[in-house]
């Protein structure tokens, strides 16, 4: 990549972000135009199709699967049932609604893909918000933020944590032992922020309508089969990779979507075309375009080449490097998809640790797992930065984009600044708490 192409990549990306942030143009159109510009300028070519598919294919498949599953379930009446139960549990209190959201979303997102979870829970959340007579945008944004934060609770909670953890040979148990507490703190720190950031919802108290017997489900077999397809999808999320012929989460989402469409077709409740028409294609196009733009940035090699700069600037002060990474990767992840950021950062961090002689040269080899304890907080800082940085802006995580897309489909547009009002303070506080956690961890592991 020539210097000119590096400047072009950065310039185009900055222009797209600015256009979205200043609300100058529709975000999907802005991202698509940016991608076209990179193709026209020769930054992106046919050789990039593989790397883009490798990174974008999984998240897009997860979203498509989740959208089809949610759309199929929408006509069963199940969301209404669960929504009514949730509404009763809130007792008409906005405060309890928000707290219950954390209690519901966090454990689910500790194991299931974040954006898919947001899609599946959105109809329930919107239903409760409407019943409580509050704007559903704030609860939807909170749901996205919880889902991103809860990705830190387990090694498999977020692709970024998994990518970092697996690259240093960290087991599920080791993760629970060293990282999960920090993840829990990131989720819990949301609670004291709720009365401030979500004041309108927090203060709401509404009398609930008297309890009525639930409406009977019109097509119980259809509902059962649709739920069955969701069950297959979730089961494959959890155990698919351990099957003799492994099925990863993206493939599980596609299997679930295909089965759901089969159920729709066979049940003849509505045409398959109607389900596919209701998929949020705009969100999918936007994310696909963003992944293309990120490939343009990754291709510059700027991030990967920073290992020697880190060594020159900080030598073997690993704690300082961990904090710089936490903030730096957090900032980058608030604007870029965190998977490619983490993938490129891993090369940088491993290179830095080798250059700083914290590990032998084999530390750069895939599969190397003999990391000294003193280096582990550096990787943990990366996990926190990559995961929590996504809370910062609308385009920081696919769950945010999906939440905004769902709001738009319900007639409430969420702009970049709308999200920023909630996301930025949350991300800043979470990163600060994580910095404290990483510092304590560094002391303990020294």
């Amino acid at each position: 990549v020539s210097n000119l192409q590096i400047y072009l990549s950065l310039g185009v990306f900055a222009a797209v972000i600015l256009a979205i942030a200043l609300d100058l143009i529709d975000m999907a159109v802005a991202a698509l135009l940016g991608t076209c510009a990179l193709i026209v300028f020769g930054v992106l070519g046919g050789e990039d199709a593989g790397p883009i598919l490798g990174i974008a294919g999984g998240p897009l498949a997860l979203l498509f699967g989740g959208m089809v599953a949610a759309r199929t379930l929408a006509t069963t009446g199940i969301f209404e049932r669960i929504g009514d139960g949730f509404l009763r549990a809130t007792g008409g209190s906005g405060k309890r609604f928000l707290l219950l959201l954390i209690a519901l979303v966090a454990p689910v997102c500790a194991f299931l893909p974040n954006a898919t979870t947001v899609i599946l829970l959105a109809p329930i959340i919107i239903r409760v918000a409407v019943a409580l007579e509050v704007d559903f945008v704030a609860p939807m944004i909170l749901t996205a933020i919880i889902s991103n934060s809860a990705g830190l609770l387990t090694l498999v909670g977020d692709p970024a944590t998994f990518l970092v953890g697996s690259s240093i040979g960290m087991s599920f148990g080791q993760y629970l032992h060293t990282v999960s507490l920090g993840g829990l703190l990131s989720v819990l720190v949301l609670i004291p922020m709720l009365p401030v950031l979500f004041r309108e919802v927090w203060r709401v108290r509404r009398p609930l309508p008297p309890v009525e017997p639930p409406k009977p489900i019109e097509r119980p077999w259809f509902a059962l089969l649709a739920l069955g397809t969701l069950g297959v999808m979730v089961a494959l999320f959890l155990v698919g990779e351990a099957l003799p012929r492994p099925i990863g989460p993206p493939a599980a989402a596609i299997v679930g979507a295909a089965l759901a469409l089969l159920v729709v077709y066979e049940a003849k409740v509505e045409p398959v075309d109607a389900v596919l028409r209701d998929i949020d294609w705009k969100t999918l196009v936007f994310l696909a375009s963003i992944f293309c733009l990120v490939q343009g940035i990754t291709k510059t090699g700027l991030l990967q080449s920073l290992s020697l700069t880190l060594n020159a600037a900080f030598g073997n002060h690993l704690i300082a490097v961990a904090l710089v990474l936490l903030v730096g990767i957090g900032a980058l992840s608030s604007l870029l998809a965190n998977i490619p950021v983490v993938a490129a950062s891993l090369v940088m961090v491993k290179g830095y640790l080798v250059a700083a002689q914290a590990v032998p040269e084999l530390g750069m080899a895939p599969g190397f797992s003999d990391w000294p304890a003193v280096t582990v907080p550096v990787f943990i800082a990366m996990m926190f930065g990559a995961t929590l940085g996504g809370n910062g802006t609308l385009i920081g995580a696919s769950a945010n984009v999906v939440a905004a897309g769902i709001c738009a489909s319900q007639g409430r547009r969420v702009t970049f600044t709308d999200f920023l009002r909630y996301g930025l303070p949350v991300a800043a506080v979470q990163i600060a708490v994580s910095a404290f956690y990483v510092l304590v961890l560094s002391r303990l592991m020294h």
């Binding site: 020539s2 990518l163 087991s171 599920f172 990967q304 290992s307 002689q357």
Partner: protein, 343 residues
């Protein structure tokens, strides 16, 4: 449960999440980058006489440096279009993997571990080295056996630190290792008499004794060689086109020596040589330049810039380090330097 989770994680890792990490490059990417940048970025040492060292005027010299210039000449048509990036030993692979350099030439040994695990490739051997022992000339030590029970200085993390105990033990000999963090500390310890011998690559010992108090003649390198240290250029995994070009630049220099093409006569031979294969190789047309992604006269440019392999060796190793060619002689003279045919 933990076994199950371990299996899940291992599978997922194998399924390719690790593959997202851009450790490798795509074919042709490096050469395209070099051309677009108009300069080759070559990672070299911070200063090892004979291999890569800056003179008083700031100009780089050495066999590693010359080879960088030859590659730049082949790729860009100009041997001066090289940006030398001085690197510590620990920085060389991060620099290569992090794409901070296009080519690494820093006295780096070709090993299976580096190719298989680090995912870097060694296109060919530029210098066949081996570990050796250096002792004060006046000590009267003639062979390894004379060092039984001696204290030997060795740099931490180097090959001899691991293999010297085995080598001595296999011969029923004993020694005490004085392990120090850097080559500079080792040299200082040795020259101040803290140990009787200094073990390292023969080329490194020859370079170290150039700065020895009392002059290089005050120290001798014992004739025994311990293990193999084939040193060569290193490229990133996955860019076959770049790998091929770097490899064949070196072969061109070796083949030139074999057929008597020198810095002085190369251009003339391109036009007048009776052998059509030689003329083609030197860029008379119908050669493999376009297939390599460079000009037809790539080999001529490389030879004209640094001379053939023998000229390069003589200028940097023989004259500077006073080491004979040993295994680095041409195969026709009992050495290991051999280039496949240019057809």
């Amino acid at each position: 449960v933990s076994a199950f989770l371990a299996r899940v994680l291992a599978r997922a890792a194998l399924l390719g999440l690790a593959g997202l990490v851009p450790l490798s490059s795509q074919a042709g990417q490096t050469l395209d980058g070099v051309k677009a940048r108009g300069a080759l970025r070559c990672g070299v040492s911070e200063g090892i006489p004979g291999f890569s060292e800056r003179d008083a005027a700031g100009r780089w010299d050495g066999i590693d440096v010359d080879f960088c210039r030859a590659v730049a000449a082949a790729a860009l048509g100009d041997a001066e279009k090289v940006k030398f990036v001085p690197l510590k030993a620990s920085e060389r692979f991060p620099a290569l993997q992090g794409n901070a350099i296009d080519l690494l030439l820093r006295e780096t040994t070709w090993t299976l571990g580096r190719e298989a695990r680090l995912k870097v490739l060694f296109p060919a051997v530029l210098y066949f080295d081996a570990q050796a022992l250096m002792v004060p000339a006046k000590a009267g030590v003639k062979a390894l056996a004379d060092l039984d029970g001696a204290t030997i200085c060795v740099e931490k993390g180097t090959t001899p630190e691991r293999y010297l105990p085995d080598y001595f033990a296999a011969r029923g000999l004993h020694f005490r290792a004085l392990v120090l963090d850097s080559s500079a500390e080792v040299a200082e310890a040795f020259f101040t008499g803290r140990c009787r011998a200094y073990v390292s690559d023969a080329s490194q010992l020859a370079a170290a004794r150039l700065q020895a108090p009392g002059g290089a003649q005050a120290f001798v390198i014992l004739p025994e060689r311990i293990g193999k240290e084939p040193l060569g250029p290193v490229v990133r995994y996955g860019d076959d086109d770049w790998f091929t070009l770097v490899r064949w630049v070196l072969f061109a220099l070796i083949a030139a020596e074999e057929v008597g093409v020198t810095r002085e006569n190369a251009a003339r031979l391109r036009d007048t040589a009776a052998n059509p294969t030689l003329r083609r190789a030197l860029g008379a047309g119908g050669g493999y330049g376009p297939a390599l992604g460079v000009g037809e006269d790539w080999a001529l440019k490389a030879i004209e810039s640094v001379g053939n392999y023998g000229e390069m060796f003589e200028r940097n190793i023989t004259r500077v380090l006073d080491l004979d060619r040993g295994l680095n002689r041409l195969w026709t003279q009992g050495g290991l330097m051999y280039a496949p045919p240019f057809r």
